[in-house]
Symmetry: none
Subunit: 199 residues, 4 copies
DNA sequence: TATGAATGAGTTTTCATTCAT
DNA sequence: TATGAATGAAAACTCATTCAT
């Protein structure tokens, strides 16, 4: 019921695409199965039920995105703004990345019965984002004259910017998202520069 | 099929609540009718079908919100940051305002078959927001030393901030949204102050 | 409920067309009303219910067709074959004559609940056809050397031919029906000639 | 969805009976399923939808009847009139043969949406009838002094007679149909005798 | 004479799920 | 691991009919 198999993975893929595109209620197991090339009851050899399938898709998408957060912040060098690497990554991946698309959609509008579990996961992701950004900021700032409260505030701002970026990605295209990021990044960079150069 | 009637309005109300809470696919006409206190087929005396009902709810919610944008910007006095009135209004209204809740939800995750119409309406709303903010900014800035391009960029930033605010409203609560607005507003205010005081 | 009025007649017309095209079960009062330009409940100001409307359409179509039988046989001069006038009339009228079309259809496949009444009416029509043909044959035959049994048999043949003609009219076009009539008329004429010239 | 199974066949049988008796619009899947002894949704494991079920019933009835045409003409010995075997078979089978009953009904009054496909199938049947009769006539005539045009005309007459026979079967009973056949057969036989003995 | 509103009964169809194989 | 068959529940929608106006 749980072990990895080629079919198992193909189901996750197809489900991710369907759930991302049409949501929980708008996706039917028939269509998902048909996209995989199997019949509907065969899904039950891999997943207990629709909820379990949905939650597994969510779990994997969340893990993948959290790993991506860690990696992007790790790999970004001495960029102008902390977190720029991950923002760029979001924009770059969105079009072809169903799990990410799914993650954004279900975080905004989780199916009522799964809301608690999903909210909890989503919050973990946001906390990770916030904490990672703060750590980076704390590390990279020339003059570390910002206290923890201030740093956390910038962390909240960064998370807000990422949210606004994801929204733009969800309902329009990459270009507009890139434009928004440029604008928002400027806001953040200005504020940081202003704050750190104050004294 | 078109004229206002008490029942008509009550259907719109109930539908708005259901669609906001459970989305298009998760809402059933049976439940909506039952919330109104009529039987399912009676809905069809007022609306051609589920799509038409959904779109009417959307249309009214959109009109109402656009009117609210105009009103909030009109009524805000010499506030610190242009657009603060509308942001506050969003936060204040969200919990008890089903049409607004519905509007945000459907704009981010429209039912696949209605996506085009809804995207178009949502874009009108965002454009209005952008343009209204820019007009206000242009009017209220002490030294009008900002060119059109710069003003438009701040407009885009404001729209992004509103988006991030709405996201927070959609998936958490008013308090966190208020906190986010405080942070983001500071970003925007700093940037504006910095820009206008430059010369 | 019964008196003639412009609307009453227009309802009959529209109903005739719908019933002829789609049958009893396939026709809806909504569509009929809409074809008339009124709302569905308004139909009930003119007819007690769907059955009554159907039966009234049937009654008028039957009356009209019976009158046509009488007229065609009256007006046909010393044609080659008795009954040729009516056969020609059938072919000529079919395309633009909804009541006739309706009559044929409902006679073959009456709605189960109305079967008895319709069968009875249809039989009246066939009897009229048979008797009128026989009278004509009896009158017009040069040598009246055919006994009643023989004449009745030709009457049955004529009715059979009319049936086959109507079938052709119902499911194909006027041209093919005309061709069939030419062939069948020859059969009948030959037989008559053969029989009357025997002695 | 395609392969034969006991249930599949029982559905076809029940559907054939219902469609024959009440037509497309007058038959409901609920009743058909209940006649089979299964629940309504189970039908969809065997047929895509009502149309597909109807067309499958039609297809099988048509095939069966075409095979019957071939067989009857094959097996008829040196009967008085070519085609007598098939006419007798029609009369004999009608009461107890649902597919035949269905075939006649739907050919005369096909559901509006399926008219094209059904007309096409019905025409194939009529063509087969015509051609088979002509072949038989050509083979069995003592003096083959009839040209092709004449033979085809007798073919058309035969098809017309079969039509009139089927009409009689559809809306009255076997006895009257037998009587009509006796009369029409005489017409045809006389004409043939007359034509072939001419020279 | 006409209609807006309402409705019980019914339609076809889809759904997630189960189970024997 | 996969599936054909089956099903209860529920979906959206249509229907003929009623009734107050």
């Amino acid at each position: 019921m749980q072990a990895r198999s080629p079919t198992y993975d193909r189901i996750l893929e197809a489900a991710s695409a369907h759930f991302a595109e049409r949501g929980y209620d708008g996706s039917s197991l028939t269509h998902i199965a048909s996209a995989v090339g199997i019949r509907k009851p065969s899904l039950y050899a891999h997943f207990a039920n629709k909820n379990a399938l949905y939650m597994e898709v969510f779990k994997q998408a969340l893990q993948q995105e959290c790993a991506m957060v860690a990696r992007c912040f790790d790999e970004e060098g001495g960029v102008a703004t902390p977190g720029a690497g991950y923002a760029d990554s979001l924009i770059a991946r969105h079009a072809s990345n169903e799990p990410l698309h799914f993650l954004l959609r279900t975080s905004y509008t989780p199916p009522a019965e799964l809301r608690v579990a999903i909210d909890e996961g989503h919050e973990r992701y946001l906390d990770l984002l916030h904490d990672t950004f703060c750590a980076k900021l704390r590390a990279c700032v020339q003059a570390a004259n910002l206290d923890d409260a201030a740093i956390s505030q910038y962390g909240q701002a960064y998370v807000g910017i990422i949210d606004s970026l994801q929204v733009k990605l969800v309902y329009t295209d990459r270009e507009q998202a890139a434009a928004r990021w440029a604008v928002m990044q400027r806001l953040l960079a200005d504020a940081l520069e202003h704050a750190t150069s104050k004294e």
